[in-house]
């Protein structure tokens, strides 16, 4: 990848009007170098202000940086330049979905599905949104069922949107996993719009047990939280309120650590309440 970045950088230096800035910006974004990616795409847009893919890339970079309003605005520009752009509709749909704005999410995802019927992630997200809204699913049932949270809805609320009211507007997400790493509640929408809750859950299965074992050997008492930082996010985990599971919160990389901890506390309270309501 670094060879590609070098090659595209050289190409752009030779021909500043080249569209290769799109490849370069995307590669930098995927490497987590969002500040550099932003710089590249903004320079590209100075020369090509009407280029829809450049606005689309800028929107995705904005999502990575937790600048959701900016992302939404950029996708809005994409739609003005290219009204049938399924990628922009998909991005806006996932943003609304992540924020619990289900009616808007349904509208955008529905348009995205019409534009790109082969994209399974759109069909799946749309099925969940419609399910939450009480509308009949219009996608094949096996797709609608695939990434569904494992627990029954408590108090009539969709398990995927349990934390929507707690996590707020920024790039923040919350998940409740059971002891086997299966998703009980919440959703994990990655910066690129994919729902990766199941994958994240699978990778984290057993964390609670291992943390417990490590603490026992160190005689440090019960563990209360694990926080890890990545190139793009801060992820915080705590033992689930019951059943040996795990609670997980992720926020944009520039979110203060103290705030992430407070958010984890609020999500934990919400999970406890939801589990009690469903019991």
């Amino acid at each position: 990848m670094s060879d590609d970045v070098r090659r595209w950088s050289d190409e752009l230096a030779r021909d500043p009007s080249s569209h290769v800035f799109l490849n370069l910006g995307e590669a930098l974004r995927r490497q987590g170098q969002t500040a550099m990616a932003l710089k590249v795409v903004l320079r590209g847009l100075e020369r090509h202000p009407q280029l829809a893919p450049a606005h689309d890339l800028l929107a995705r970079i904005a999502v990575d940086r937790g600048e959701l309003e900016r992302a939404f605005d950029e996708w809005d520009i994409v739609l003005r330049l290219s009204p049938d752009n399924a990628g922009a509709r998909k991005g806006m749909g996932f943003l609304c979905f992540q924020q619990g704005r289900l009616a808007e999410a349904e509208r955008h995802l529905s348009a995205a599905a019409n534009g790109d019927p082969a994209d399974a992630s759109i069909a799946s997200a749309l099925a969940h949104v419609r399910d939450s809204l009480g509308a009949p699913p219009s996608v094949p049932q096996h797709e609608a069922d695939a990434p569904r949270a494992g627990a029954p809805a408590a108090g009539g609320q969709d398990a995927r949107t349990v934390f929507a009211g707690v996590i707020g507007e920024g790039y923040q997400t919350a998940l409740l996993l059971d002891g086997d790493g299966l998703v009980l509640a919440g959703a994990y929408v990655a910066p690129d719009g994919r729902d990766v809750a199941q994958e994240v859950g699978a990778q984290l299965s057993g964390v609670s047990d291992e943390a417990q074992r490590a603490m026992r050997h160190l005689e440090l008492g019960a563990w209360s939280s694990i926080v890890f930082e990545t190139d793009a996010a801060i992820v915080a985990m705590a033992p689930a309120p019951r059943g040996g599971g795990l609670l997980l919160v992720a926020a944009a990389r520039d979110t203060p650590l103290g705030f992430v901890r407070r958010l984890l506390g609020r999500v934990s309270d919400r999970a406890r309440q939801w589990l009690e309501d469903g019991a």
């Binding site: 987590g32 019960a222 992820v235």
Partner: protein
């Protein structure tokens, strides 16, 4: 105290932080201790294996979520904390009491990583 290794100086710097009771460099894939600087009573080999495994899980879940590379991990418990940071299949692990200054340890570990402490 360990014999001299490429990691000795880095581990000695970490153990001097307030509240730190041990620091280690561990192989992420198999949890084997590469070098350590531990106070008496700290069960290095067991902690190394578990900390490496925790760090690995965090790294893989970050990758699955498209969040890029995991950098710094911090585990909090009633009576202490464990910190981990990794690169090139090596994980630097620090065990500390609750009185330890998280911010200072975090900066020291990130700086050690930036300075090529893990290659």
């Amino acid at each position: 105290m360990s014999s001299r290794s490429p990691f000795s100086e880095m581990l000695a710097t970490l153990i001097r932080q307030r509240g730190v009771v041990g620091s280690m460099v561990v192989s992420e894939s198999d949890g084997i201790v590469v070098d350590s600087n531990l106070q008496i009573g700290v069960k290095g080999t067991v902690v190394a294996a578990l900390a490496a495994s925790l760090y690995r899980k965090a790294r893989l879940s970050a990758s699955a979520a498209g969040l890029g590379e995991a950098t710094f991990l911090q585990l909090e418990a009633e009576r202490g904390r464990v910190f981990a940071i990794g690169r090139n299949d090596l994980v630097m692990v620090t065990v500390a009491e609750t009185r330890a200054n998280i911010g200072l340890i975090r900066v020291a570990m990130l700086r050690a990583l930036e300075d090529g402490g893990l290659g």
